[in-house]
């Protein structure tokens, strides 16, 4: 059940009752890209970029592999581990900015591959860095409202297919990943704050390829990703510390009661600065951008299946999640997660 919603400075504040995370799996493609890969294109500036972004390795899909493939592999592993019969899943939500097709929605493609019932709720959500929080809110709302008893949230992006290989600001930053999160009915409570501000749409954009196809101010390939890093950083400075404070306040628990604050792994410099500005204890702000790069909507579940996996499997944790970026769009969540029967990171095996 959703308990009211209140507009506050950061966005819509919503409490969702009656749904819990049952497990989650992240799937990483096997092709590891080290920074040496970029030396030929960018030369000495590779070191400077690395200092800022913190990315040392990232994983990219091979040609022909999409976000939905990674998500499907994650979902297969998750459903098997949880021993959820396929016909007990009532809803599937796919969050991505790199879907299989412009149409139809990729949620159905994954549904068919997984062999879920043919008459369930399925839809795509076009969001990036904020997408996991939005997806979690919607999936938990579906379950909490009784519209679905079990829901599968599949979140993934292959940003490697969007980046302009000549653009130093983005080429080295992004990694690919797909995740699956199982949501089921349960005696739990989660707090969300969700916001959007489309005035920043131009600052992180793939200008061409859909139906507006505007000329863009940058000379970059309009089919590739354009990012104004300075403007994006400004947006996060203005919005994220406020989002953190308001999410904690909305959930009504003291900051000490949180086991971890998961910030979207935008780039290391940004995350460190934002954590400091939001006055978060550094030892409770896990980072893994050094290994995976910025994996868009999957950075938050990837922190859970990677850095926090043992903790979430054994005893569970009180978590705060913060996704923010492209849109602009942002979401904050406060929830108790675990102990989980399944929480792990797997490598994509294209032979499956």
């Amino acid at each position: 059940m959703t308990i009211g919603s209140t507009p506050i400075a950061s966005g819509q504040a919503v409490r969702v009752d009656g749904a819990r995370i049952a497990g989650l799996v992240s799937c990483i493609p096997p092709r590891r890209i080290d920074n040496e890969y970029f030396l030929e294109e960018f030369g000495d500036s590779v070191a400077d970029t690395t200092k800022m972004t913190g990315v040392r390795t990232r994983y990219w899909v091979d040609e022909g592999v999409t976000a939905s493939d990674l998500c499907t592999a994650a979902a297969v592993s998750l459903l098997d581990d949880l021993a959820w019969p396929r016909d007990t899943v009532d809803a599937i939500i796919f969050v991505s900015q790199t879907p299989d097709y412009r149409l139809p929605a990729t949620a159905g493609v994954i549904q068919a591959k997984l062999g879920l019932r043919p008459a369930i709720i399925g839809l795509d959500i076009n969001l990036g860095c904020s997408g996991y929080v939005y997806g979690l809110w919607l999936a938990m709302t579906l379950v909490g409202s009784g519209a679905a008893k079990r829901a599968l949230l599949v979140v993934g992006d292959t940003s490697s297919s969007l980046i302009d290989p000549a653009d130093r600001a983005t080429a080295m930053l992004f990694g690919d990943a797909g995740t699956a999160t199982a949501i089921e009915a349960g005696d739990a409570q989660a707090h969300f704050i969700l916001g959007t501000d489309g005035r920043g749409a131009d600052n992180l954009i793939v200008p061409s390829g859909a139906y507006r196809s505007a000329e863009h101010r940058s000379s970059n390939d309009p089919c590739k990703l354009f990012m104004d890093g300075g403007e994006i950083f400004n947006f996060t400075l203005k919005s994220v510390p406020k989002l953190v404070a308001e999410t904690v306040q909305f959930a009504g628990l003291p900051i000490e009661s949180y086991d971890a604050f998961l910030l979207h792994q935008a780039n290391a410099f940004m995350v460190n600065h934002l954590a400091k500005k939001a006055k978060l204890p550094p030892d409770k702000v896990p980072m893994n951008i050094d290994r995976y790069g910025n994996t868009s909507s999957t950075t938050l579940p990837l922190l859970m299946t990677d850095d926090l996996a043992d903790r979430l499997a054994r005893e569970g944790a009180r978590l705060a999640l913060f996704g923010f970026g492209v849109g602009y769009s942002w979401g904050g969540a406060s929830l108790e997660v675990g102990p989980l029967a399944c929480v792990k990171t797997i490598s994509y095996d294209s032979g499956r």
């Binding site: 400077d48 890093g229 300075g230 403007e231 400004n234 400075l237 410099f269 600065h273």
Partner: protein
Amino acid sequence: MSEFYQGMAEIFEVEESEMGPDFPLDEGWDSLAVVSTIALIDEVYDRTVSATRLQECKTVGDIEKLAQE
């Protein structure tokens, strides 16, 4: 030397004695330096400045003026 100029010296990787209002923004004034400068201004002055306006600055003194506007 002020916290702002110390920070700018770090961003341009020069000695603090070389940093001052006349320091030119040409070599090394790239997107990474701009983002670092936004962070520095946020830290020192607790305010955000537009990246576009920052890119229009010619000297470190221009940045200081922008930050104090």
